[in-house]
């Protein structure tokens, strides 16, 4: 259908657009954005996984609020699940049971909501790591990195408050832990606890309070951050991997209309479809199995959802230090883990700022780094992930014990040691791997690709045939820059006057050497080296 035909038959669409343009200026907006370019790469869709699962969570969450009663009033359960009939439960638990067993489709929506939450957090984790390892957080995207980081942190707390709402035995145990952790805070711990719970644990206020935090406060902030995050993505335009024709000054890919409209729009349905299928096939948080919360009941295997698992690990492996001084108790065994908990997150959150301080780089970066070309950053990220997983092992130590026939005490000791040792080992190993890969790139550029074809020369020598790289590949493998480490200015200037460098500057230079000094990067081949080799004695 040609455009002229469309205009003659259906001018209504255009008229509506005209009306809107007169009030909102949509034509100008569309001019800049309708054919906006998005580069194709699967890892660039991870953020969309997060966005879409967030939307799914909001949609299903609204449905759940139609049935859920955030009250801790005690009632006797009379629903259709036989093994709990006649048991005293809270209104919150009762209505969650009602959703699960008596509302048509209620169980499905509950399961989609919870599965989507796990996928949301997992997606944010992987998305954040993608951005981290490719250096996509560099100028001008530092603020967007912070927005994303905040979304992850807020997502963790939104998830935790939601997990606590049904007031079942598992979540109640988690809330009990929260109370114990708050009590350990020096000086004000008991006050915060009394204020949060509206009195003594468990009281009757914590579910309604968590409810308004879970459905209003945190998601409201997150929604705002998501919008800001997206606006900045569009404003900055997407980053891209280096390659032929891809420069710092352009962005190469497919236009929003129509390709990405279809791809990204379609991806929403794909994500929703996969999560709905997962919710049809696998149960999540079966509160009827756990039973209602009672402070004197507990089930073994009491863990939080995965994203809180590292905090659980910290708490489980911490030695029980407690100091009593002058009538006061310092509960280090609990307080140290709850201090380290945010520090673990902050470590990854502030890394971009440390890096930009060390490098002193003030330029914009739109071409992504290949992780191997930033060995220190990659090693730091890998070490951080390793730390995270060590703590996850700690958080699930009882299941490791039962499923691998190990002693829970040995696992705890393993995690206590690994907490300090593993990140260091992973850091060193990753850095070496990166350097090895850099060396390989260098060899590839200078000597060509190993073809695996063995040739026998007339004088009997065997050689492997190397195939020279194409111009595209040569460019791609050498497009990265290799910064030089900072130098300390001489301590004594030319006039013999002593000039002290500040401690900050000294540290910066030291770090810079660690980042970019010898042993932290393999010099990429220069044009001269290349020409010497290629012009000289053939290639092998």
């Amino acid at each position: 259908m040609s455009t002229t035909e469309q205009r003659r038959k259906a001018p209504a669409g255009e008229r509506v657009a005209d009306w809107a343009d007169g009030r909102l200026g949509i034509y100008s907006l569309a001019k800049a954005n309708m054919r906006k370019i998005f580069p194709d790469h699967w890892s660039f869709m991870l953020g969309e996984v997060c966005l879409y699962s967030f939307l799914i969570i909001i949609l299903t969450g609204v449905y759940l609020t139609l049935f859920f009663h955030p009250s801790m009033e005690e009632v006797v359960y009379h629903g259709s699940y036989v093994p709990l009939q006649g048991v005293r439960v809270s209104e919150a638990f009762n209505s969650t049971m009602h959703i699960s067993f008596d509302v048509r489709g209620g169980l499905l929506i509950r399961q989609i909501h919870h599965w989507a939450a796990l996928v949301f957090l997992a997606g944010m984790f992987v998305h954040m790591m993608r951005v981290f390892f490719t250096g996509a957080f560099r100028k001008p995207r530092e603020i967007n990195w912070l927005f994303g980081f905040l979304l992850f942190v807020l997502g963790v707390f939104t998830g935790f408050t939601g997990y606590s709402l049904p007031d079942d035995l598992l979540s109640g145990t988690g809330v009990r832990f929260t109370e114990g952790a708050i009590l350990s805070v020096p000086v004000v711990g008991t006050y915060i606890s009394m204020f949060l719970f509206g009195g003594e644990f468990p009281g009757a206020d914590i579910v309604p309070r968590f409810y308004s935090i879970h459905i209003l406060l945190l998601p409201g902030i997150m929604l705002g951050l998501v919008v800001a995050h997206l606006i900045l993505v569009i404003y900055h335009k997407h980053t891209q991997f280096p390659g032929p024709g891809r420069t710092e000054k352009n962005v190469v890919g497919m236009p929003l209309l129509p390709v990405y409209m279809a791809k990204a729009g379609g991806f929403f349905f794909l994500v929703f479809g996969v999560i709905a299928a997962v919710a049809a096939l696998a149960t999540i948080n079966p509160i009827w199995d756990f039973g209602p919360y009672r402070p004197d009941h507990v089930s073994t295997g009491a863990q939080p959802d995965w994203y809180m698992g590292f905090a659980e690990g910290l708490v489980r492996v911490m030695p029980g230090w407690e100091i009593n001084v002058a009538g006061h108790t310092l509960v280090l065994g609990v307080f140290i883990p709850i201090v380290i908990f945010p520090l673990v997150l902050i470590a990854i959150g502030i890394y971009p700022f440390i890096e930009s301080w060390v490098t002193g780089d003030k330029r914009e970066h739109h071409l992504l780094d290949r992780p191997r070309n930033a060995p220190t950053r990659t090693a730091f990220g890998a070490a951080w992930i390793a730390e995270y997983f060590v703590l996850l092992i700690g958080g699930g130590n009882d299941l490791w014990a039962t499923h691998f026939h190990l002693s829970i005490n040995s696992i705890t000791w393993f995690v206590r040691i690994a907490f300090f040792v593993v990140p260091v080992l992973v850091f060193i190993a990753t850095k070496r791997v990166c350097l090895g890969l850099q060396r390989r790139d260098r060899d590839k550029v200078l000597h060509g690709r190993e073809t695996g074809i063995i040739k026998r020369l007339p004088h009997g020598e065997f050689i492997e045939v190397h195939e020279p790289l194409s111009q595209d590949q040569l460019h791609t493998l050498t497009a990265h820059e290799q910064p030089r480490p900072l130098e300390l200015e001489p301590e004594v200037d030319e006039n013999g006057v002593a000039r002290k460098a500040g401690a900050g500057q000294k540290l910066r230079v030291k770090l810079s050497r660690g980042f970019y000094g010898e042993g932290s990067q393999i010099p990429k081949p220069t044009a001269e080296e290349y020409q010497e080799i290629t012009s000289g004695h053939g290639h092998h």
Binding site: R88, F101, R104, G105, L107, L108, I112, T173, R176, E179, G180, A181, L183, S184, T190, M194, F195, F197, G198, G199, E200, F201, P202, G203, K237, G245, E248, V252, P258, A262, G266, F267, L270, G273, I275, A277, A280, P295, D296, T300, M318, G320, W321, N324, G327, H328, T329, V331, G333, V334, P337, E364, H366, D398, T412, Q471, D472, H475, A479, A527
Partner: protein
């Protein structure tokens, strides 16, 4: 599908075999060759292939419609409490399974159709968009700074210090009212965390039978949970009180009790310890009757019940509190007072 079945003559000539905008200098062997030329997909040159793609997309969209119909039928037809056996998942809710799968298929097919459409039928020519620096040009910056200076001068904020200072004062003070409003969130701690429902003369009620316990009921190696006499699940404060008063009763051979005070506070080896972990308050009760150890399922703090509830492993910082018990004249076990120290997690004022 292979590309072999396409006659070579039907392939349009690729637009300029050379790279677009390529600047390959003889000097730099690594120079950017520019965007590679666009290559055609089968669908671009073979109308039959394009038709096939069109049919696949239409099929996916149709499948989605059918799945939605299936969803509606399932919603209306399947009873909410019907269970079916699905191998290998198990006995599951028929409604959840059918609604979830039909919804999943309906959504997935829309997405798959759209993406297949985009991938095979929409243009796949890569386009390059220019980037522009984000920073403003020096002229713009100068203009903004000048405007700001004008505005600041006209407001006279810098000159009229009295206005400035009082305004900052007012703005800084008013949030305090909000902070004070939060004071209503809960009561002061007082001694709430130090007291439980136990007091002298209260009998130990077995939580299984709801009968008071006698010493002869409790055998060596057994484990029993008790609450104070006079408490009932129906009480409005039951949850708060059981969170502190829950009690765990075991019987050891008196010769196995290493701690002297523990022995003194027992009745023929029957000892009563708080069930609330001193770490963060989980009900600790994984009692190993041969080792007399009790383990917390939440964070694996391990206590030795034959040695005054001492911590032998894990993150707990102090022993489990013991309740002193005796046999009353009717032959039942009863408490001789409250716990001597606060039960449960430690806190700043605990001392």
């Amino acid at each position: 599908m292979s590309s072999q079945d396409i006659p070579e003559e039907s392939l349009p000539s690729t637009q300029g075999a050379a790279h677009q905008g390529a600047v390959v200098s003889g000097e730099d062997p690594f120079a950017d060759p520019g965007l590679p030329p666009h290559e055609h997909r089968i669908q671009d040159i073979d109308e039959r292939a394009a038709k096939r793609s069109e049919r696949v997309v239409a099929f996916l969209f149709t499948l989605s419609m059918l799945a939605t119909v299936g969803f509606i039928v399932a919603y209306l037809a399947i009873p909410v409490d019907k269970n079916i056996y699905v191998f290998p998942i198990g006995h599951i809710s028929a409604l959840n399974f059918s609604l979830g799968l039909s919804l999943g298929v309906a959504l997935f097919c829309i997405g798959a159709g759209a993406v297949h459409w985009a991938r095979t039928l929409m243009s796949d020519v890569e386009v390059a968009d220019e980037r522009h620096p984000i920073e403003a040009s020096p002229e713009v910056k100068a203009k903004v700074l000048a405007d700001f200076a004008d505005g600041a001068r006209e407001s006279a904020l810098g000159r009229r210090k009295l206005i400035r200072n009082t305004m900052f004062g007012a703005l800084a003070m008013f949030p305090l009212s909000g902070v004070f409003l939060l004071g209503g969130l809960g009561p002061k701690p007082g001694t709430k965390l130090r007291k439980t429902k136990w007091s002298a003369g209260k009998m130990l009620i077995n939580q299984n039978t709801m009968q008071p316990l006698r010493p002869e009921d409790v055998q060596v190696g057994s484990l029993t949970f008790a609450m104070p006499e006079g408490m009932s699940e129906e009480d409005h404060d039951f949850q708060q009180e059981i969170a502190k008063a829950a009690l765990m009763i075991v019987r050891l051979r008196p010769e196995n009790i290493k701690d002297k005070r523990e022995l003194d506070w027992s009745v023929d080896g029957i000892v009563a310890f708080s069930k609330i972990c001193t770490h963060v308050g989980c009900p600790i009760s994984l009692y190993e009757q041969q080792t007399h150890h009790v383990l917390c399922p939440c964070h694996q703090s391990t206590f030795d019940l034959s040695d005054g509830g001492r911590v032998i492993f894990g993150p707990a910082g102090h022993p489990l509190p013991q309740l002193q018990i005796k046999v009353n004249d009717k032959g039942y076990l009863e408490a001789m007072g409250d716990f001597p120290e606060p039960v449960g997690p430690a806190f700043w004022e605990r001392g």
